[in-house]
Amino acid sequence: MSLRVNDLRVHYRTLKGEVKALDGVSFTMADGEILGLAGESGCGKTTLGKSLIRMDGRMRHAGGTVELDGRNLPVGDDRAMNAFRFHEVSLIPQYSMSAMNPTRRIGKMIGELLRSRGVTLDTAELHHRIDLVGLPREVLSRYPIELSGGMKQRMVMVISTLLDPSLLIADEITSALDVSTQKAVVKAMLGFRDNGFVKSMIFITHDLALTSNLADTVMIMYAGKLAEKAPADKVVKAPRHPYTQLLINSLPEIGVRYDQRKLAGIPGSPPSLLNPPKGCRFRDRCPIAGGECAEEPPVAEIEPDHFVACWKA
């Protein structure tokens, strides 16, 4: 097992109290696995990604452990995490458009970054990786402003994986890109995994169709908790959690037209995480909720590798 997250709880400190953005999430990832993490805004997917590499000042580690390659990852300790950052865990941020230093040529910036980590630059390896993502080598002598959005995104991918991290977290990296650029970025991500530059990958997105094309396993989160986790084709073809089912049914696909089949959204909105209600958090929006849903459903493995948190599944 490459990554083992056990009952991780991360809270945001606000003036009104603690927002329980991540409220007891457990999962494991195998070597070479790509995990797609999906859910509505505010479901805790970005919080989960961030807490595995760096918690910002508002976040508090409220419990739970993370184990990476058999070693305990001190997620709550900002200083101790420094030894792991980029060497073991790396991140491609959501706004990689602004992730590069605008006043340095990209090649020089990469040299400076590596020096700050005490590593010398292997130019041949860098060129090899730039070729792999389909960029011309001249980008190294250009400024970030001279690159298009998709090129910058791919350049940041190369930079964040230069130290061959074990775990790569990609947070909404394709949301701002066009479909054809999106495809190129996703293909490059798969290439990185197949070449062994990264061992496993968490791909955070709200685009289920894209995730199902890239990820081996898809994990759906709802209101700070795990709703369903299963191999990608299971989630798409035979989802068991009512939330996943409604979510899949609300996606327009090419081939679906309004006048032939009217899709429906999910009525209502997720509960406030300041004082989340007891029991199943999807209860108020769920079409099949019953009396037992007042108790919180445990995450159960209903088939091998298919985890669902629902009494009715």
Binding site: S41, V236, L251, L263, I266
Partner: protein
């Protein structure tokens, strides 16, 4: 109703506007009453510029835009019939005021003589028309409402006017999957009122779900235009084919279509004028027969 005729937009760029950039290049299409037309293109294809020109937010360099045969004249009378809704619902509201202030502003500038009681009734029925519960959304601040609710309130605001044409510029890209479809269904329902909708988007599956006709833009020119079923099921232009093949699908893996090496569009961008391949199905490709 809306007729965009050979419209070109040239932006001045660079220091002191020394260079020019053609964002929209001789584009012509029309939107009929009771019809949703989707304008699909990647970033930089000029789709938002077209929306802005129709709304009179930016002047046209050459060509003409007419609504019901009358050249557009931005002003109160024009905005009574043509309105736009944009991508980010959160920045359309002033966070200091309650969200329903947008309705009060409409009354102030367009219907000052309508009595308050009647106006409240009109607002409530417009909110019901966009499938919201007036008691849930009135009197709330923007941060207390979800993105989907705010977006639908903006559509309700447009419906209070004598609306004929709605320009919907990427109105669902900031919304979650669970609420996005409600806004789309709403747009489809507006057709029944005889409203024309120009739906600007980069998401092909949303355009396909909603629109009767589709216009595919590339670098400011139309590459393909026609009935949605024709454009999506039988795409003729290699760019449209490539675009369609790049759309991630839930139940099928990506198919790999690379642009053919000999394709003229690939070398020089758009080619020449539009050819009518089938009745009402236009395509800009010199090599129609070969690829």
């Amino acid at each position: 109703m809306l007729k965009v005729d050979n419209v070109t937009k040239v932006y001045k760029v660079g220091t002191f506007g020394g260079r020019t950039m053609t964002a929209v290049d001789t584009v012509s299409f029309d939107v009929r009453p009771g019809e949703v037309v989707s304008l699909i293109g990647e970033s930089g294809s000029g789709k938002s510029t077209i929306g802005k020109m129709i709304l009179g937010l930016t002047p046209v360099t050459s060509g003409s835009i007419t609504v019901d045969g009358v050249p557009i004249q931005p002003g109160k009378d024009y905005y009574r019939t043509v309105q736009g809704v944009f991508q980010d619902p959160f920045s359309c509201y002033n966070p200091v005021f309650k969200a329903d202030r947008v309705f009060a502003l409409i009354k102030e500038s367009y219907y000052p003589s309508v009595p308050d009681a009647e106006w409240t009734e009109r607002v409530r029925s417009a909110i019901q028309d966009v499938r919201l519960n007036p008691d849930e959304v009135l009197g709330k601040f923007p941060h207390q409402l979800s993105g989907g609710q705010l977006q639908r309130l903006l559509i309700a605001r447009a419906l209070l006017l004598d609306l004929k044409l709605l320009i919907a510029d990427e109105i669902t890209s900031m919304l979650d999957a669970s609420t996005r479809i409600d806004v789309l269904n709403l747009l489809a329902e507006l057709k029944a009122r005889g409203l024309g909708v120009l739906y600007v988007t980069h998401d092909l599956s949303l355009g396909h779900y909603l629109a009767e006709r589709t216009v595919v833009l590339r670098r400011g020119t139309i590459v393909e235009m026609g009935l949605t079923s024709k454009v999506f099921d039988d795409p003729l232009h290699p760019y449209t084919r490539q675009l369609l093949s790049a759309v991630p699908r839930l139940h099928a893996p990506w198919d790999d279509i690379e642009p053919p090496a000999t394709c003229l569009y690939h070398e020089r961008g758009g080619v020449g004028g539009l050819l009518e391949a089938d009745p009402g199905h236009y395509v800009a490709c010199a090599q129609l027969s070969d690829c």
